[in-house]
Symmetry: C2
Subunit: 231 residues, 2 copies
Amino acid sequence: MNNDDLEIVCATSLFARLQRDAANKILGWSSPKAFEKGTVLFTQGSPANSFYVVLEGWVKVYRTSSAGQETVVAVFHRGETFAEASIFLGGSYPASAETVTAARLVRIGGDVLRRAIREDPEIAFSMLASTSAHLKALIEQIEQIKRLNAKQRLADFLINLSGDRKGVSTLSLPFEKALIANRLGMKPESLSRAFLQLRPHGVAVERDRVHIHDIGQLIALVETTDDDLGE
Amino acid sequence: MNNDDLEIVCATSLFARLQRDAANKILGWSSPKAFEKGTVLFTQGSPANSFYVVLEGWVKVYRTSSAGQETVVAVFHRGETFAEASIFLGGSYPASAETVTAARLVRIGGDVLRRAIREDPEIAFSMLASTSAHLKALIEQIEQIKRLNAKQRLADFLINLSGDRKGVSTLSLPFEKALIANRLGMKPESLSRAFLQLRPHGVAVERDRVHIHDIGQLIALVETTDDDLGE
DNA sequence: CGCGGCGTTGATCTCTGTCAATACTTGTGG
DNA sequence: CCACAAGTATTGACAGAGATCAACGCCGCG
């Protein structure tokens, strides 16, 4: 593993607080691997024996209904780990994962992780911090779906994509709009219309390029309850 | 703590696999406490220093928007632990918690838990299993909200309330309908109408008593995709 | 008895899903 | 180089689900 990769791994919430030798204990036998777009990493119900670190690209985690309908639960990218909680569910993955762009990932065996925790209990705290952070993210997603409408959910998505940029921001959508729509709990048609609704709020879209005139305006949009009278 | 209480605690996924002395290490200085309905246990943003075990009653965990709107994320009852993940977020609770019935709870300090993990790393695995289980539950809730309509979500709720009973089942709703509605991501009016829609499927409601004629019928309802043609 | 909280019901409106038609983009092969 | 097909995104018309607003019924409680 080269230095750039190592830097990314050590920036994840799982590895951030670990000593270098503790990190090596986990990473020891793992090396980054490239996957092409559309590679299924694991499927819902299959034995959960590994978790992943994303070095590059995007990975969707989704559940499939009995009728074959996909529901995207999360989308991970550079500097994030996923499926590390599944290791401890004692059995099978509760969801499937697939690369949605070309991607480079590190795959780490659950047995390696378990052994590392036994040898160095401090690793357990990092694991707990990491899964707790995922838990918090899911809680926030649930609140988002329940409380916001399509337009607001898209605004929220764009805000997060902008990271810590303020004011004007131009960015390119990291993956297909159909996936964005699914992640936001709506249909592609609704996403198109949500983009149109954001135009008056300073959002211009051209293909996968999005120009945001003022992020503060989007933030205001999300915090507005449209019933700003009572409550 | 009396024997009945201890039995409940030891049945939680967090304590289930622990040796008796490991459990005592954690429970040592904690004793059950009674709370009346409507007691706020902690609020979103306040320092996260404890987690809880429910011995009796029901507790809602919810987030509050800037406009004061509440979104229920989970409702916990006998034999469940909650907020144990918050301990490891390093900072504050990401949600609030309030008893929605009279309740008896055990409150356990985060410092106690942390010390116990350092002394006995096996506890870490139980913690990880427990938070992972919560994570899985949230993933399933997200899928439920995104994929099912109001009628199906209510059916799913009733199925879970019925536990492992099959066929006919009579039960009483454990808390107010407004809370059920919120938990299911709908308005109270919609919940009323969802109950009406379930009548043809063998569900009779009278006040807080629900009589289910055939649970299998409800299960079929949830698995139906109403677009059972293509996909 | 009257009040207040909770739940239901009805009328209406808004949002989102559905279905269908139409670009636009990209890749392929003649 | 162009024709064509397949995948992706947009747009329009329409229908249905759920929200909203308002009124009312029910029940417990002072």
